[in-house]
């Protein structure tokens, strides 16, 4: 608006602000009266006091004598871990099902459609209960675990995975790996520039892959494989060693990734549908092999349509992690909005922090997606 605001506009806005201020003032005075009546402390001082409760999954050192601030960090990391693993699983599953919905094979199309329509129309919480109460909880005790190749075990206590442990001399391998990846990034950049200049699509993929992995693999062979697998093994009544994943995390991951995969499949399908048929026919007429048609013509154009809603789906998955409170996975909401709120009763401070953390992560990821989206749009000119 370049023109000067009219008197009426100023008056309306002033009235709205005054009304809002009055409501807030009334609410605040009620809040002060209530807090005094209930004898509730105020201020953020509680964050530095010992929390006094245990958390069943901690990615960083934490004990009952740690502070509430440490509990906040532990819980936030649990939420981020859950969201990251679920997104990493949901994306490939969703892409496969989305491609399946456009397959030439009618049976595969039917199965993919059935998956999408089933998973999308049943509440996520019910699906979570199914995975947790109907599938994971009735699993046998550790002694009768379901095992895979003797390395992976699944039982009522959770999922036990083998983990690689670095031994002496592994530093050289890491250095070689990092150097190789750096080389590969530079090479990819140079090859892309050359392709744009000359139109010569040299064998980018094998060269970049070889540069990225070669030095690391060679260094590992030269130093005599300085790693060993820590495989979980039955000892007494439970599994020892390896990586123990609690059943709550397994159930949350299953529920979130399979549910979001249904939505991602629809996004992928819409993206494929958005590529005009003429593009594919033109590419074929030019004599491009099917791999090239998909890789150079269909995928880049579909991706432009897919990325923005895919980003929104990731954010939705992140927000859905809060269902963890229903089965007791110690995520941000359960630890902070549940336990900490009950212990401190400082509703305003606890909720302010909780909302701020969610808004910050949400906003950060949204900014990242927008940045990637802009880059993709520019690259296609």
């Amino acid at each position: 608006m370049t023109s000067r605001p009219s008197a009426a506009a100023v008056a309306i806005q002033a009235a709205v602000l005054i009304l809002l201020g009055a409501v807030l003032w009334l609410a605040a005075s009620n809040a002060v009266a209530n807090l005094t009546r209930l004898g509730i402390n105020t201020g953020l001082g509680f964050l530095w006091r010992p929390a006094g409760f245990a958390i069943s999954q901690t990615l960083i050192p934490y004990s009952e004598s740690s502070t509430y601030l440490a509990a906040l960090a532990v819980a936030a990391l649990n939420t981020v871990l859950l969201a990251a693993v679920s997104i990493a699983l949901a994306t490939p599953i969703g892409f496969m099902i989305g491609l399946g919905r456009r397959s030439a094979n009618g049976l595969l199309r039917g199965v993919s459609t059935g998956y999408v329509e089933l998973l999308r129309n049943v509440p996520l919480l019910l699906q979570l209960f199914f995975w947790y109460f109907a599938l994971l909880r009735p699993l046998p005790p550790p002694r009768q675990s379901l095992t895979l190749l003797g390395a992976v075990a699944l039982n009522a206590r959770g999922l036990f995975l083998p983990v690689p442990i670095a031994t002496e001399g592994s530093a050289a391998v890491f250095v070689a790996l990092v150097a190789g990846i750096a080389l590969a990034v530079i090479a990819a950049h140079l090859l892309a520039r050359r392709r744009e200049r000359t139109g010569d699509a040299a064998r980018t993929v094998p060269v970049v892959l070889a540069l990225a992995l070669g030095p690391g693999v060679l260094a590992a062979l030269a130093t005599g494989m300085p790693f060993h697998w820590d495989v979980p093994h039955l000892q007494g009544f439970n599994y020892q060693g390896g990586l123990a994943v609690q059943p709550e995390l397994v159930a949350m991951t299953l529920a979130l990734s399979l549910y979001s995969a249904a939505y991602i499949a629809e996004i992928v399908r819409a993206g494929l549908d958005a590529v005009p048929r003429g593009q594919i026919e033109a590419a074929r007429a030019l004599g491009l092999r099917p791999v090239m048609v998909n890789g150079k013509i269909v995928v880049p154009q579909a991706l432009r349509v897919i990325v923005p809603p895919l980003g929104n789906e990731y954010l939705r998955l992140f927000r859905n992690t809060t269902l963890a409170a229903a089965i007791g996975y110690p995520d941000l909401t359960m630890v902070f909005g549940g336990t900490v709120l009950n212990q401190t009763a400082q509703a305003f401070e606890v909720m302010l922090i909780l909302c701020a953390v969610y808004l910050a992560i949400n906003g950060g990821v949204a900014a990242l997606i927008n940045w990637y989206n802009r880059r993709l749009a520019v690259a296609t000119r």
Partner: protein, 367 residues
């Protein structure tokens, strides 16, 4: 549509042969088809056998109870039959069930009136429903007036609570969302900034923390001594949360209206309010109806979340039944209960999403 414009529809035989050809067009496809058929053969017969052939249909726990210490195989539909009343009405007094039935009928009639093809003037019907239905349903369920015995909110539960919550969330978030969407387009910066802040906050904070927030903060903001039961607090949280989603849907619809419509309305001398009410909104509502239905599906699904704060909705009523020692008869009771709950939610959500897709398709065809 004349016969010439009608899309060519291949005969059933041609479609079947194309379908078959797609399944066996290449060695890879044949392998895929075989693998999927094997999977279906592995999953479907046992499922049908478990659910129907071996299912137990009695009316009490004894139908599924172990015989001679041996657990019974097969689904336990007796659980659903025996707890039907709790699942639908929760702890609502039995003599007053007719009031719940009346509300169900009201919701059903509203749905049919708004979603069927033949009913005209849906805008007016919808407006009347939003204004009239919630208070009528509220009075009917709560009672205490017109000689209806009062039923405290703490005795609401089961499917009835799910429908109440979903209906209240829908009826509340629709007008609020529209108002926020209109404010977002306002030329007054204060109003625009406030509504953008409102939408961004509510779209960034997930439902469960928002529910906790309203639960813990709302009572503190009310005058000391006010006692607000859990359900109204949950309804407030649901309305706030979904109004942001509704506002974004309405915003999309308003943006889709060509600028010329505004200018044409102004040039024939309509006031801004009349332009909105008579020209813009009727077109925008037609555009956003599929989007609004999608929000409605989301609302139905997310009502389940209230079990986290201890309200006994349909899903929580099932959980409560499963915890009853009478029904601790083995895994099949829980599996059948979840299957039943899944079917109920699925039928509602799938139905609504089909209507949404149909409307979307109709609009695309019209151009």
């Amino acid at each position: 549509m004349t016969a010439l414009e009608a899309p060519l529809r291949p005969s059933i035989g041609a479609r079947a042969s194309r379908l078959l050809h797609g399944c066996i067009s290449s060695p890879g496809n044949i392998a895929l088809t075989l693998a999927l058929l094997l999977l279906a053969g592995y999953v479907l017969p046992p499922l049908v056998g478990w659910a129907i052939v071996d299912g137990h249909w009695g009316t009490g726990p004894e139908a599924c109870a172990p015989v001679d210490g041996k657990q019974k195989e097969g689904a336990c539909w007796a659980f659903v039959g025996a707890r039907w009343s709790q699942l639908v009405y929760g702890p609502y007094p039995e003599s007053e069930h007719w009031r719940v039935d009346a509300v169900f009928a009201l919701v059903l009639a509203a749905g049919v009136a708004l979603l069927s093809r033949s009913v005209k003037r849906k805008g007016l019907i919808g407006l009347a429903l939003i204004l009239v239905a919630p208070p009528v349903a509220g009075v009917l369920l709560a009672g205490g007036v017109f000689g209806l015995p009062a039923v405290p909110v703490s005795r609401w539960g089961g499917l009835m609570l799910t429908v109440t919550l979903a209906g209240a969330a829908l009826a509340g978030s629709l007008p609020l969302g529209l108002a926020v969407a209109l404010c977002r387009r306002s030329s007054l910066p204060v109003i625009r900034i406030l509504s953008v802040g409102y939408i961004e906050f509510l779209r960034g904070v997930p439902l469960v923390p928002l529910l906790f927030l309203v639960m813990s903060i709302l009572p503190l903001l009310l005058p000391p001594g006010t006692d607000l039961p859990l359900l109204p607090r949950a309804i407030v949280a649901f309305i706030l949360f979904n109004s942001a989603g509704m506002a974004e849907v309405f915003r999309g619809g308003l943006q889709a209206i060509p600028q010329g419509q505004f200018e044409a309305a102004r040039s024939i001398g309509l006031s801004p309010a009349k332009t909105m009410a008579l020209v813009i909104l009727p077109q925008a509502v037609a555009i956003v109806t599929p989007g609004l239905l999608n929000v409605a599906v989301a609302i139905v699904k997310e009502t389940t979340v209230i079990l986290i704060i201890g309200l006994v909705d349909f899903l929580n009523q099932i959980q409560a039944g499963l915890a009853d020692p009478k029904w601790l008869l083995g895994d099949q009771v829980r599996d059948s209960a979840y299957l039943f709950a899944g079917l109920v939610y699925w039928a509602v959500c799938f139905g609504l999403s089909r209507v949404s897709a149909r409307l979307e398709l109709q609009r695309e065809r019209r151009g």
